[in-house]
């Protein structure tokens, strides 16, 4: 009777162990990549909205400041979504017969809320506050991307924990003078290597210990 296990079986056995490990490893890697992919984080995805509201038109083209509509962003945790009255400040006169704006007029007429779909939504176990970021000089564009160039809004960042931490560990790379927070075109001067460190000092930004401790964001 012929041998059941030939010498070559040894190689196959070794190979299958290596391959098996490699497969398991790449599976884990794949899963991790998948979790971080824009498919999972919905970064860059456009959501359906009741009215095709364009930030591009309203901010870049007409120069309306973010705070005209998101007027609680400097003082509270939530940036605020403008109530229908705010749209009607202008749209009771401008494009007042446009069918595109009918949902806005209906909401105003019937005193019912206009239902926007949330684009950014952290899990409820995370605590986030706009006012502190605005006060210490983190620009809207740093977290939300070039909103002023978006015809329809989409996410400019992953909103994952690692994204928050990347900045909380190195605020000096990401802050700007507080008066430039709403300026979407601001550019950091390139000639001064200590520029960020000076801003961090001037704004009195907390140290890494505080900014990366779990209870800062999970309270």
């Amino acid at each position: 009777m012929a041998q059941i296990f030939r010498p070559s079986t040894n190689t196959i056995a070794k190979m299958s162990i290596i391959l098996g490990l490699a497969l398991a490893g790449s599976l884990v890697g794949l899963l991790m990549a998948f979790e971080r992919s824009t498919y999972r984080t919905n970064e860059g995805v456009v959501y359906a909205q009741p009215v095709p509201f364009s930030h591009d038109h309203h901010t870049a083209a007409m120069g309306i400041d973010c705070r005209y509509c998101h007027y609680s962003v400097e003082t509270s945790a939530s940036a605020g979504i403008p109530p229908t009255d705010v749209c009607m400040n202008c749209h009771k006169e401008i494009w007042k017969d446009s069918p595109m704006l009918e949902p806005v007029r209906a909401s105003y007429r019937d005193n019912t809320p206009l239902e926007w779909n949330r684009v950014h939504d952290l899990p409820d176990f995370v605590y986030f506050d706009h006012s502190i970021h605005v006060a210490k000089g983190v620009g809207c564009v740093t977290c939300h991307g070039e909103v002023n160039k978006m015809p329809l809004i989409k996410r400019g960042s992953s909103l994952q924990m690692s994204w928050c931490l990347d900045c909380h560990r190195n605020p000096e790379k990401n802050v700007r003078p507080p008066e430039e927070v709403f300026n979407m075109e601001w550019e950091r001067p390139k000639d001064d290597p200590d520029y960020g460190a000076k801003l961090v000092e001037a704004a009195g930004i907390e140290g890494e210990q505080r900014l990366t401790s779990c209870s800062t964001c999970h309270r």
């Binding site: 705070r67 005209y68 705010v86 401008i94 239902e115 949330r118």
Partner: protein, 225 residues
């Protein structure tokens, strides 16, 4: 009866089974929890809550509700009117550089889109078809008490809506003070300006005259005193 089984030392084999079951159940539970923790039964700003007929999670307080510390006793501050119901002509707070700077910043955010940065009524939204308001520095408005500007922002005026929601009371006064500053600056006589600016103006004037295309008196103010 799990507790009892766990304590019994008589049959080593069966001792682990309930523990394993517990572990599996526990693991299942944490899987179940995940979604709950992502979307907890607390209400976040703007969250839909179907408990209420209109579906709004954030409720509007009943009319007449007064939050602690927010009793609007001071009618000059809150309504811009004195006890007799007349518009006040003094600010209900001290006027300083910081207030004017705040006023300028807020004016740029909330008003300049229509009224223009100088108050001329030529803002971007007006150029796109909104009714043109009168210049904020015209004679009639210079004679108005400062409380008038506060009142317009608070209650609206004609086609202009109320800005009470978007602009808190303190900021409305800062803007009112800034409108006064605009009126002064837009109607300032040349002789009242600091001398470097006067020199600049004269230089520009001579330059323009030597070029031959008469001066464009955008600084009408400069000659009208």
């Amino acid at each position: 009866m799990i507790g009892k089984t766990l304590c019994s030392r008589s049959r080593p084999g069966s001792e682990r089974l309930p523990l394993m079951l517990l572990a599996v159940l526990g693991a299942l539970l944490t899987v179940g929890c995940r979604q709950d923790m992502h979307d907890q039964p607390k209400i976040e700003p703007y969250e839909v809550n179907n408990f209420f007929a209109d579906g709004m999670g954030s409720r509007i307080p009943p009319a007449g509700t007064i939050a602690r510390g927010w009793l609007r006793e001071d009618s000059a501050l809150w309504e811009g009117k004195d006890a007799a119901g007349e518009l006040v002509d003094t600010l209900p707070m001290a006027l300083d550089q910081a207030l004017l700077e705040r006023g300028q910043q807020r004016f740029e955010i909330y008003c300049s889109v229509c009224h223009g940065s100088t108050g001329d009524g030529q803002g971007m939204i007006v150029r796109r078809g909104f009714k043109q308001p009168s210049p904020l520095y015209e004679q009639r408005l210079q004679e108005m008490p400062v409380g008038y500007f506060f009142d317009v922002m608070t209650n609206g005026f004609g086609l202009m809506s109320s800005y009470a929601k978007q602009v808190p009371v303190q900021d409305r006064w800062a803007i009112a003070a800034y409108i006064r500053a605009l009126q002064l600056s837009q109607n300032a006589a040349l002789a009242e300006l600091p001398s470097p600016i006067q020199d600049e103006f004269h230089a520009a004037l001579t330059a323009a005259e030597s070029e031959g295309d008469g001066v464009h008196h955008d600084d009408a103010a400069a000659e009208h005193h």
